[in-house]
Structure formats: structure tokens, C-alpha cells
């Protein structure tokens, strides 16, 4: 198990600041936030994804890591106090660097839509790349978000997820130390 690297220097303040950033990112879809700038995460984790994991994942949540992130497994287990699950469909949080098939993840139930999974997606860049138009709750007027690293048919995949509302997957996009979020309530057009 490799735990050569530390987590937050000040776990209470930094995780609270990151939590606030995640809330703001979800409340204003498409807005960009800086998180985890002080972190030195293990390869291949980005600062933002590492900060989100340290903030949201603990021993009482479930997490799925794809093989690409196995080098960081020891660090994640140690600092988050959780053992990653073998199947993404069972996990409350799914970390990936390629968009997983949203239909295979846990979208929650009508009685308990809060139980749905959250995908933490590491993308190549935020603020440059393909432009998406976002509209919905939290946005007085439609805004645009530029993401490099989402699949070509993302808008149609997202439409299927958005149609499940109040069920559905929430997406946290991380690149470097930048975070943006697409809650299930937001409509995305290419």
C-alpha cells in the first residue's frame, strides 16, 4: 500500500472549503471553482478529484475505482478510510477518467433519489474544448461550459440521465485544481 503522500494539511478547514465549493458548483451548474490547490495527490489523481474524494468519501460511503486509478488506491483507502468496491453499480461515488455508462450506475429510487451515485470525472480540461449549453435550476439564463474530455455523444447520454429526474446521476468534473458540476437537474445541449 503506497501512502507516501499526505492528505489535507488542515483536514477540517480544507475539507469544509472544498465541500462549500462542491455545493456552489452544484448550485450554479457550469461555474468553475478552485479546489485542492495545496494537495500533492498520487498519480493519476488530479488535485480537484483528490480534494473531492477527501471531502466526500469516508468509511460510511461506497466508492468505485477503475483499474486506471489503482496506483492511487492505497492513498485513497488510507486517507478516506474506505475500501473501493469491485462493481461500479453498487457504489455511491464512482471515480473515472472516461465517462462511464450512466445507465449502469445507481440512479436512486423515486422514494430515495438522494441515494443515487455521484460520478467524479477527471477530464483533460475545463474552460476549453467542446462547448456545451447548460440550462435549468440555478441558471437564470443558459450558460456555456467548455469541457475537453467528454464523449462526442455526451449531450444525448446526459438527456437520458436528465429525463430520470428526480432520479439520476450527478456529475462532478475535475481537471487540475478546477471543479465544475452537472447536477441531474441541468439540461445539456451540445
Amino acid at each position: 500500500m503506497s501512502i507516501e503522500l499526505r492528505g489535507f494539511a488542515d483536514p477540517v478547514l480544507e475539507s469544509q472549503a472544498c465541500f462549500r465549493a462542491v455545493l456552489n458548483a452544484l448550485a450554479r451548474p457550469g461555474s468553475l471553482h478552485r479546489v485542492g490547490e495545496s494537495l500533492v495527490p498520487p498519480v493519476p489523481l488530479s488535485c480537484a478529484a483528490a480534494a473531492v474524494l477527501l471531502t466526500l468519501v469516508d468509511g460510511e460511503t461506497t466508492l468505485f475505482l477503475p483499474p486506471a486509478f489503482f496506483p492511487a488506491r492505497g492513498w485513497v483507502s488510507f486517507h478516506c478510510g474506505t475500501v473501493p468496491l469491485p462493481r461500479a453499480a453498487d457504489a455511491g461515488f464512482v471515480l473515472d477518467d472516461r465517462l462511464p455508462d450512466l445507465a449502469t450506475l445507481d440512479a436512486g429510487s423515486d422514494e430515495s433519489p438522494d441515494a443515487a451515485a455521484t460520478v467524479i470525472l477527471q477530464v483533460a480540461a475545463l474552460g476549453s474544448g467542446r462547448r456545451f449549453c447548460l440550462s435549468g435550476p440555478g441558471l437564470r439564463v443558459p450558460v456555456s461550459l467548455e469541457v475537453d474530455g467528454l464523449p462526442d455523444d455526451f449531450a444525448s447520454q446526459w438527456a437520458a440521465n436528465h429525463a430520470l429526474f428526480p432520479r439520476g446521476i450527478d456529475l462532478l468534473l475535475c481537471s487540475g485544481a478546477t471543479l465544475a458540476a452537472l447536477p441531474r437537474s441541468v439540461a445539456v445541449e451540445a
Partner: protein, 168 residues
């Protein structure tokens, strides 16, 4: 949780080198977890200065749930919560030491973690075992026995109950 349940015993059958090393580590970790920060500082002062280290986590205080099992083999139940302080450090050469100690003494947890990391180095192990772990273990055993003697002096034997049980 009684002292008996935490005492480390070496199984009589043949064990692998890794298991022996693990048992040795369990022993020193348990001794360090009960040692006071002042005790450890005093013993360490006689040795060459410890290597520089980085705190990977903590020292941070929190609650853990202590679990028990009735009769030692029954179903597990939650006995109660306990305050512990944990710390993980990495010394310059890369060895990682962990400590979890009862109470809120951050310095104790940090020293115990540092010593755990140093003890994993085969070159230092014998010296540290002799200079730090052995005296601490001896002191802890003496104080445990003194407590046991004081308790034994006030022991009450329930002869009636014992007799009733045997006659049934």
C-alpha cells in the same frame, strides 16, 4: 476490554518469518500505545536523535467504537465509544509508522508513530527494542501486576453460588 485480551501471545506451531515480524510489531505497537509521552521522550533522549519525518495524517483525536464478544466467542456487540488519538508519520528513508493511542495526547501518538516507523528498520530494531520497548514493557507489566494485586486483596468468593451450581 481486559489486559488479557490485548496481550500478545506467540502461537506454539511453526510460523513464517513474516508472521514473527508481525507479532513483534504488534507487541511494540501495543507497548507504545500504553506508554506516556514523557516516558518515551526520556528514553529516546539517551539514543541518537531520531530521523526527520513528515506527518502523513494527524495527530488527530476522534471516537472509535469498541466492540466486544460475550464469552470471547459470542456474537459481536458494540461495547461503547472510546476517545483515541491516531497519527501516521513517514521518516526520511520512507518507512511509515502508525499509532493509535487511548485518550487525547497528540504528542504520545506522534512519538509512538515515529518509534513504530524507526522500529521497522532492521538496522535500528535491536537497539530500540532494548533501549525503549523492553523498559516500557517491564514498567507496564509491573504496574499491571500491582493493580492486579490490589484488586485481588478485595476479591470476594461467592462460595454459595459455586456450591449451588455444582449440586445442580
Amino acid at each position: 476490554m481486559t489486559d488479557e485480551s490485548l496481550r500478545v501471545s506467540i502461537p506454539p506451531r511453526a510460523v513464517s518469518a513474516k508472521a514473527v515480524q508481525q507479532t513483534a510489531r504488534q507487541h511494540w505497537m501495543s507497548v507504545l500505545a500504553r506508554a506516556g509521552a514523557d516516558e518515551m521522550t526520556a528514553l529516546m533522549a539517551r539514543l541518537p536523535p531520531p530521523p526527520s519525518y513528515e506527518r502523513l495524517r494527524g495527530p488527530e483525536a476522534g471516537l472509535i467504537m469498541v466492540r466486544g464478544a460475550t464469552g470471547g466467542s459470542g456474537a459481536a456487540f458494540n461495547l461503547g465509544e472510546m476517545t483515541v488519538t491516531r497519527c501516521t508519520v513517514r521518516i526520511a528513508e520512507g518507512r511509515v509508522g502508525h499509532a493509535t493511542v487511548a485518550g487525547r495526547d497528540a504528542r504520545q501518538a506522534e512519538l509512538a508513530a515515529l518509534l513504530d516507523a524507526m522500529l521497522q528498520d532492521p538496522a535500528r530494531q535491536a537497539e530500540l527494542q532494548a533501549a525503549i520497548i523492553a523498559p516500557l514493557a517491564l514498567r507496564q507489566r509491573a504496574s499491571r501486576e500491582a493493580t492486579a494485586r490490589r484488586a485481588a486483596a478485595t476479591r470476594v468468593e461467592f462460595f454459595t453460588m459455586a456450591t449451588m451450581r455444582t449440586t445442580e
